[in-house]
C-alpha cells in the first residue's frame, strides 16, 4: 500500500499545493461539485489497480493462504472432524512426536523415495535422447504426431490409466505376465528371462516386493512424455550454428550430443528434474488406485501423501495428518534445495 501511495503522490498532480477541499481544474472556480469529482478521480486512480487485481488475492487468501496457515495450527491439535470444529484439543508437539516414532511413517517415507527415484530417473534417461532424436532426426509431418503420442499418457486421466494398468499387472490373466512368459519361452530371449520364469506368474499388485516396481513403471510411463516435450523445447533453443560448426570440425552425432546438446540443455534439465522431484514426492493417485486405496500388503506401496490422506480422511486424525503435511513439505523442500546446490548454480548459467 505504501508503495502505491508514494507513486501516486510523486506523479505530477494538480492536487499539489492546492488548498484542501478544492482544485483549480482548467482554471474553473473552486466549488463543491468539482471537488467531489476530483476526490473520486484521485481515489479511483489510487485504488482501482488494487481492486482489479484483488479477485486473485481474495481467492488465494481463502483457498490457499488460510488453509496453509490453518494446517500449521491444526498440526498442534488433536481433532476428529466428525465431531465438528469445536472439538479441537491442543496437544503441543505430540503429533510430530507420534509421527517421528511411527514405523508406518518411516516406511511410507522410504517407499516414497524409492518410487521417486525408480520412476524419476528413467523418465529423464529416456526423455533426453528421445527428444534429441525427435528434434534432430525426425523431419516433417511425423514429428508433431509423435510428440503428441508421447504426451498423451500425461494428459490422460490417472484413474483411467490405473485401471488399464490394473489389467496389465494381473496375476493369472495379466498382459505383463503373459509377455514375460512369452519372452522367457522364446529361445532367442530365453536367456534374458531365465531367472524370472520360475517366479511366474508374478502377483504384481498383491505381493510386497513387486508393488513399488509396478507403481514406478506406471509413473515413468505416464510422465516421460511431459519431459520429452520440455526437452524438445529446450533443444529448439540451441542455435543450429553450434552443431554446424561442430560438424565442420568433424564431430560425430554422439559427440555433438555429448558436448553440445547436453551442456546447453542444463537449464531445462534443472527445471525438469525439479518438477519431477516435487511431483514424485507428492505421488498419490497412481499408488492409491493401483493398491485399491490401501497401500498394498505390508504398506509396501504406501506413499507419504497417501498415508497423509488416509490418516486425515479415513482414520479421522486431522492433527497428525496436518503434521505429516508439514513434514512432507520439509522433505520436498530439502530435496529441492539439495538438487539446487548440486546442479542448480552451474545449471542455470548457460556456458557460451
Amino acid at each position: 500500500m505504501t508503495t502505491g501511495s508514494r507513486t501516486t503522490t510523486r506523479r505530477p498532480s494538480p492536487a499539489k499545493g492546492a488548498p484542501a477541499g478544492g482544485a483549480p481544474v482548467n482554471g474553473t472556480p473552486v466549488n463543491g461539485v468539482y471537488a467531489r469529482t476530483f476526490r473520486w478521480h484521485r481515489w479511483q486512480r489510487r485504488w482501482a489497480p488494487y481492486l482489479f487485481v484483488s479477485p486473485f488475492f481474495i481467492l488465494f487468501a481463502v483457498f490457499g493462504l488460510f488453509p496453509t496457515l490453518f494446517s500449521i495450527y491444526l498440526s498442534f491439535q488433536s481433532w476428529n472432524p466428525v465431531q465438528g470444529l469445536g472439538s479441537m484439543k491442543w496437544v503441543g508437539v505430540e503429533n510430530y512426536q507420534f509421527l517421528l516414532t511411527d514405523p508406518w511413517f518411516w516406511k511410507s517415507l522410504r517407499n516414497t523415495i524409492w518410487i521417486a527415484l525408480a520412476s524419476g530417473i528413467p523418465q529423464h534417461v529416456i526423455a533426453i535422447p528421445l527428444a534429441f532424436v525427435l528434434v534432430s532426426g525426425v523431419r516433417g509431418a511425423l514429428r508433431h504426431p509423435l510428440t503428441a503420442a508421447y504426451f498423451l499418457p500425461y494428459i490422460t486421466s490417472t484413474v483411467a490409466v490405473a485401471i488399464v494398468f490394473n489389467t496389465i499387472f494381473g496375476t493369472q490373466f495379466g498382459l505383463l505376465n503373459w509377455a514375460i512368459d512369452g519372452l522367457a519361452s522364446w529361445p532367442v530371449t530365453a536367456w534374458l528371462f531365465s531367472g524370472i520364469k520360475e517366479s511366474l506368474p508374478i502377483n504384481w499388485l498383491g505381493r510386497a516386493p513387486y508393488i513399488k516396481p509396478a507403481i514406478s513403471i506406471l509413473v515413468a510411463w505416464k510422465y516421460f512424455g511431459f519431459n520429452v516435450v520440455l526437452y524438445s523445447a529446450g533443444l529448439a533453443t540451441i542455435p543450429r550454428e553450434y552443431h554446424e560448426a561442430a560438424m565442420v570440425d568433424g564431430a560425430s552425432p554422439l559427440q555433438r550430443f555429448w558436448h553440445i546438446t547436453l551442456p546447453l540443455l542444463r537449464p531445462m534439465m534443472f527445471f525438469a528434474v525439479t518438477l519431477t522431484i516435487i511431483g514424485n514426492l507428492q505421488l498419490f493417485d497412481e499408488p492409491f488406485i493401483l493398491t485399491n486405496r490401501t497401500g498394498g500388503p505390508s504398506e509396501s506401496g504406501l506413499t507419504l501423501a497417501m498415508y497423509l490422506y488416509r490418516t486425515g480422511f479415513e482414520w479421522l486424525d486431522m492433527g497428525t495428518a496436518a503434521a505429516m503435511a508439514w513434514v512432507l513439505f520439509l522433505v520436498i523442500g530439502t530435496a529441492t534445495i539439495v538438487h539446487f546446490l548440486l546442479s542448480g548454480r552451474r545449471g542455470l548459467e548457460r556456458r557460451e
Partner: protein, 419 residues
C-alpha cells in the same frame, strides 16, 4: 424507515407462509444401489406423508462417505438422512456428528426387537448410543462350485465340518485339471478371507473384534492366532489363488471356476448372477461357513446428522425405510438388500428356489445366519485396527514373519494409535 422495513418483512412472510405450511423439505444422501430402491419407494412415503417432500442425493460409495466426513466437520451441507456402510460406521461413532437415536424424541430402542441383533449392535456404541438404524445386512455364507465338489467326490457337509476338513478338501480340489502344468482350480481366492472370518467369530463375551470392553487391543489373543494359523496353512500349501477381492482377476476366476469356494456376504449372489459370472448359473451352491461359525460381510444403515434442521421429518423417513416390513421386502426384491427386520423372513419370498444356485432355497439359509450372528459393539478404533491386523497378516503370509511376532507388533501399533 423502520415502519417500511416492518412492512417489507410482513409482505415477505405472507408470501412465504403458504409454502411453509404446505411441506417440509428434507434430503436423503445415498450411494448406489440404495438410490434405486429409495427413488422407487418415495412415492409411497410421500403419499403417506404429504407434508414432507424428499430430495434424493446420490454419490459414489467412497465419495459419499468422504463428503459426509467433510459435512460433519464443517457442520453444514449434510443431508437430513444419510446412508452409512457398515465399513464406515466406526468412523462415525464418535460423539457429536450424528444424533443418538436411543434418546428422546426418537426412542429407537422401542424397535430393537424388530432387528437382527448383531446389526443393531454394530451401530451401537459402548456407552449406549445408537448412531444409525440398520436397513440391510450381509449374512456371511460360503458360496461353492457344485461341479468342483463333484469332480473330487466331496460332499459339502463334510467339507464345512471344521477348518481341518476345509483345508483337507482344498488339498484335493486344488490341482491342474487340464494338464498344462499350471494349477487352474484353487480352494479359495485369497487365504486372508479365511483369517478374517475366523477372527470375527467366537469372540469372548463383552469384547469387540479388536478391543475389549475397556478399550484395550486384544489382537494377541488365541482367536487371532488361530485365524492366522489356518490362513498360513492354506497359503503354504498353495491352496489359494492369491487374488484380491473386487479385481478383474476375481471376476475372471468366478467366470472360469478357478476358485471352488468363496466366503462372503449373501449379497455376492446378486453380483454373481447379474454381472460377474451370469454364464455359470446352476453351478453354484451356498452353505454355512466352515466350523459352524457365523459372520457378517457388509450392511447399510441410516443416520440423522446433528446439523439437520428437520430432524422430525427425517426420523419419519428413517422409520419408514428401516422398520416397515413391506418397505424392507421391497428393497430385497428390487436391489437384493437383505432385510434387517427379521419378521420379513416368514414371507413366501424366502421359500423361493434360486435357479442360479441350482434351485436351492438359499434365502432360508441367509435368514438363519442373520439371526445367529453374535453382536459386538463398535469401537472408534476398529478401522485402523483392522488395517494394522491386515498388514500383520500379509507379513505372515507373504514374508514369512512369525505369527506371534507379527501380532505382538500389531498390538503395539494399535495401542499407540489409541493415545
Amino acid at each position: 424507515m423502520q415502519a417500511k422495513a416492518r412492512q417489507l418483512l410482513l409482505a415477505a412472510a405472507l408470501l412465504l407462509l403458504p409454502g411453509a405450511f404446505a411441506q417440509t423439505q428434507i434430503s436423503i444422501g445415498l450411494f448406489p444401489d440404495l438410490d434405486s430402491h429409495v427413488n422407487a419407494i418415495l412415492e409411497q412415503f410421500q403419499a403417506e406423508n404429504p407434508d414432507i417432500k424428499v430430495e434424493v442425493r446420490v454419490l459414489q460409495h467412497g465419495d459419499h462417505h468422504t463428503a459426509l466426513v467433510t459435512n460433519l466437520a464443517t457442520g453444514s451441507g449434510a443431508a437430513d438422512v444419510v446412508a452409512i456402510d457398515v465399513g464406515f460406521i466406526a468412523r462415525f461413532v464418535a460423539d457429536g456428528g450424528l444424533v443418538d437415536l436411543n434418546a428422546a424424541p426418537y426412542n429407537a430402542s422401542q424397535y430393537q426387537d424388530l432387528f437382527a441383533e448383531y446389526a443393531w449392535l454394530q451401530s451401537s456404541t459402548t456407552d449406549g448410543r445408537l448412531i444409525a438404524m440398520p436397513t440391510d445386512l450381509g449374512p456371511g455364507v460360503m458360496f461353492y462350485r457344485r461341479d468342483r465338489f463333484e469332480q473330487v467326490g466331496a460332499s459339502i457337509d463334510d467339507v464345512i465340518k471344521d477348518w481341518d476338513s476345509y483345508v483337507e478338501f482344498g488339498r484335493q480340489v486344488t490341482r491342474d485339471t487340464d494338464g498344462d502344468g499350471k494349477v487352474d482350480v484353487f480352494l479359495i481366492a485369497d487365504a486372508s478371507d479365511v483369517a478374517r472370518a475366523i477372527m470375527r467369530s467366537n469372540i469372548a463375551a463383552g469384547d469387540g473384534v479388536f478391543f475389549d470392553a475397556a478399550g484395550n487391543a486384544v489382537v494377541e489373543s488365541d482367536r487371532f492366532k488361530e485365524a492366522f494359523r489356518v490362513a498360513k496353512e492354506i497359503r503354504d500349501a498353495g491352496l489359494d489363488a492369491r487374488i484380491g477381492s473386487w479385481t478383474n482377476e476375481w471376476y475372471e476366476a468366478f467366470k472360469r471356476g478357478t476358485v471352488a469356494t468363496q466366503l462372503s456376504g449373501a449379497w455376492l449372489l446378486g453380483h454373481l448372477q447379474n454381472w460377474m459370472a451370469p454364464e455359470t448359473a446352476g453351478l453354484w451352491g451356498a452353505s454355512d461357513l466352515p466350523n459352524g461359525i457365523y459372520g457378517s460381510w457388509g450392511g447399510s444403515f441410516y443416520g440423522i446428522p446433528e446439523q439437520s434442521q428437520n430432524k422430525e421429518a427425517a426420523w419419519k423417513l428413517v422409520q419408514f425405510l428401516t422398520t416397515r416390513p413391506d418397505v424392507q421386502l421391497a428393497a430385497f426384491e428390487r436391489i437384493g438388500a437383505f432385510p434387517a427386520v427379521t419378521s420379513t423372513y416368514g414371507d413366501p419370498l424366502f421359500d423361493e428356489e434360486i435357479p442360479f444356485l441350482a434351485n436351492q432355497k438359499a434365502r432360508q439359509l441367509f435368514a438363519r445366519v442373520a439371526q445367529n450372528i453374535e453382536g459386538r459393539a463398535t469401537n472408534p478404533g476398529d478401522q485402523i485396527a483392522e488395517e494394522i491386523v491386515n498388514s500383520a497378516l500379509s507379513q505372515v503370509l507373504d514374508e514369512g514373519r512369525s505369527i506371534d511376532e507379527a501380532l505382538a507388533e500389531a498390538q503395539r501399533l494399535i495401542s499407540r494409535r489409541a493415545r
